[in-house]
Symmetry: C2
Subunit: 238 residues, 2 copies
């Protein structure tokens, strides 16, 4: 039975099977060795995620074997400014950290050997958020800022360190590339195919680091290229 | 618990989460309502598929609820010519039909209400198969032909009709478009993003026809756009 890798998060995760999406690439990468299970909930913050993690991830996988890994990517909505158009998604920083701890603790208490990988929110391009903003829409002020997203990204990395979990800091990694604002983000917040590619590569690296690389997972059923052309059926005897 | 849609087939299925792939698009389409499970085995013909269907599909899903639907797409390898480079993948037409029947019967005997959708092999562009051919490679003759693929496609449609199952005849549908050879096929055999799009649309149509459309499947957890901005947590009480 193949192991599964569950992707739990907000829209950065829910969209992960769209064009060039990091979830689809992951499913393609592990096409013969692991199932990639999508549990993305657009718009959700950690307050709501902590309320539903049991129903969305634990019960959803209850009948199947324990997942090998779960990625957890929240914070882009929590970091919405408390006095702007997306205020109802805002979660204060200290509560974000405690919600994230609760989510991780639920996963590791249920499956002691599961590899939990925290992914920070991506950076925000403030000017693009004015152009693409949500809600009433004509304030001329962004509802999310890069500065706020950065605080939540650092908090996410801190929680991972506290709990001894892996973290992928896409907020920092993306900003190392000149032109990150438009090459990685399509509306100042959500990922372009190029941004998805970066997340995919980081997740593959983290999984490999956790001994869940392609080399460590057996292929499900014999590979065609390894069958004996003179007696292919023999491969199925073993 | 979300229903699952299992994709069982050869490389046309194994590659379905690649660039623009029909499986990835399906997972994106059902991102909040169904799990798309990949069971693609490149190079496999129906002889091998019939040997492994229980292990690959039935046991793989044994602990989880019955899948709502299974797509079955084989024939591109069975239709390899018996005297050319891919001869060890060839399966005679009458055996192809009986293997396909056995696969379908296994699925419907295990899950009486499962929606099985047969997908024919795609058309073949003979000239491209000479350029991209497998094996020894310098015969100047294609190892697969469109004529042979067409016989297997018709046989696939016949088996679906016999068993009262839905069939998607991509061999015929693709050839209705002028320039199908290069717009739908990248090497005379495997699909381009455009070819993947056609398969995706046909599968979505077949699932909708089987009462498994988006409108018929509930979203997993409240949609953000339907939450009350003044009391979002209320959505989780129900």
């Amino acid at each position: 039975m193949r192991p599964s890798i569950v992707l739990f998060g907000d829209s950065i995760t829910e969209e992960a099977f769209g064009e060039g999406g990091w979830g689809a690439e992951l499913a393609n990468h592990y096409s013969r060795s692991a199932d990639v299970v999508l549990r993305g909930y657009s718009g959700y913050n950690t307050r709501w995620a902590a309320m539903v993690v049991r129903r969305a991830v634990v019960l959803g996988a209850a009948a199947a074997p324990a997942p090998a890994a779960v990625t957890v990517c929240f914070g882009a909505n929590d970091a919405s400014l408390p006095d702007r158009a997306s205020r109802h998604q805002h979660v204060p920083l200290h509560e974000y950290k405690s919600n994230l701890r609760a989510i991780c603790d639920t996963l590791t208490a249920t499956w002691p050997r599961v590899v939990v990988i925290l992914i920070t929110p991506p950076p925000v391009h403030d000017a693009a958020r004015v152009r693409y903003q949500y809600g009433d829409g004509c304030s001329g002020l962004p509802e999310r800022t890069n500065e706020a997203a950065g605080e939540y990204a650092r908090a996410c990395v801190d929680v991972a360190a506290e709990r001894g979990l892996r973290a992928i800091d896409i907020w920092s990694k993306m900003q190392r590339f000149p032109g990150w604002e438009s090459s990685f983000l399509r509306d100042g917040l959500h990922l372009t195919p190029c941004g998805n590619r970066l997340v995919f590569e980081e997740v593959v690296f983290a999984l490999k680091d956790a001994s869940l690389g392609l080399d460590a997972l057996p292929a499900d059923l014999p590979l065609f290229c390894e069958m004996d052309p003179n007696n292919p059926v023999k491969s199925f005897d073993e």
